[in-house]
């Protein structure tokens, strides 16, 4: 399936997500089962299948990692566990250190530190996306050239893990704060 074709989007990494969301909403509305109440069984089934693929296409395109995966695959470059290169030792070392710092900040309940670490990783996530944006910009490039960018996918998944963990820590801290307030304790900001 080509999610770009399904939603009529250009095949590139940088997309107008707001416009795409609108397209998705309009297509979903047009394909809603209510609109096919008096249609034949086969037309109803076709509309249902189309609606499912429209939803799936939107889920893929709105997520930068899945969008990048789709772009690689459409260029005939396989992605996934056994297809992507192993991360470099230097990169892994860095990820490990960052995760340990995050765990330490969490143990110390140092939310400022958590936010700073997350912001730094967020910047690297952005930089990876910019590189993908420059490579998949709608012009044609050789598969070799694009395949060299494959490590970015793995890097982005490490960044996402990190950012998910950081937001979980922030949520946890907020909940603890709310619980403390509910108990009528004095809370120091």
């Amino acid at each position: 399936m080509d999610p770009f074709a399904t939603l009529g989007a250009p095949r590139r990494f940088d997309l107008d997500l707001a416009a795409l969301e609108k397209t998705h909403r309009e297509l979903s509305r047009a394909l809603h089962p209510d609109k096919f109440a008096s249609a034949s069984a086969s037309e109803r089934r076709a509309a249902l299948e189309k609606a499912a693929s429209v939803n799936e296409a939107w889920r893929v395109l709105r997520d930068p990692i899945r969008r990048a995966e789709a772009l690689f695959q459409l260029e005939g470059i396989e992605v996934g566990e056994t297809k992507e290169p192993k991360p470099s030792p230097a990169f892994l070392m860095e990820v490990m250190e960052q995760r340990e710092e995050l765990a330490e900040a969490r143990a110390k309940k140092d939310l400022d530190r958590v936010r700073k670490l997350a912001a730094a990783i967020g910047e690297r996530m952005k930089a990876a996306q910019e590189r993908l944006g420059a490579a998949f910009d709608g012009s044609s490039r050789s598969a070799d050239e694009l395949a060299r960018l494959l490590p970015l996918l793995g890097e982005m998944r490490f960044y996402r893990r990190f950012l998910d963990e950081a937001s979980a820590i922030e949520e946890e801290a907020e909940e603890a704060l709310l619980a403390a307030e509910a108990n009528g304790e004095k809370v120091h900001a």
């Binding site: 996934g80 566990e81 992507e84 290169p85 192993k86 991360p87 030792p89 990169f91 892994l92 070392m93 990820v95 490990m96 995760r99 340990e100 765990a103 490590p151 996918l153 793995g154 890097e155 998944r157 490490f158 960044y159 996402r160 893990r161 990190f162 963990e165």
Partner: protein, 136 residues
């Protein structure tokens, strides 16, 4: 997804979590990561003069299965010779922990971590031998 009891046990009470001095010549450090999910795992071994792994530590940032796989790996390799530790296969971990197919990559990661720690230890030893030979 339902985890097996053994996975839950290792994930909730991981054995041998911690760090060994990576600059110690008798310590080998293995650092591996799964680009498909973003898990990262460090496994360290301390080898005595008889070539036996006398201590093993790990630190894993990942799902319960990844933590359980590395926890079990450190338990298994402690007290073993390097060659015996090297012979551990990811399927052994899968069987012991009853890992479902989607979590098999966690056991692969643990096997890679053992191998990578042993390789690091051997490289260190070889470098030391070479340095000694040069000094003489």
């Amino acid at each position: 997804m339902a985890y097996s009891e053994k996975v839950i046990d290792h994930a909730e009470n991981p054995r041998n979590v911690g760090t060994l001095d990576k600059d110690d010549p008798n310590v080998g450090t293995g650092l591996v990561g799964a680009p498909a999910c973003g898990d990262v795992m460090r496994l360290q071994i301390k080898v005595n003069d008889d070539g036996i792994i006398e201590d093993a530590k790990f630190k894993t940032f990942g799902c319960g299965s990844a933590i359980a796989s590395s926890s079990l790996a450190t338990e298994w390799i402690k007290g073993k010779k390097l060659e015996e530790a090297e012979a551990i296969r990811n399927v052994d971990i899968v069987n012991e922990l009853n890992l479902p197919p989607v979590k098999i990559h966690c056991s692969v990661l643990a096997e890679d971590a053992i191998k990578s720690a042993i390789a690091d230890y051997r490289a260190k030893q070889a470098a030391r031998q070479a340095a000694k030979a040069n000094a003489q």
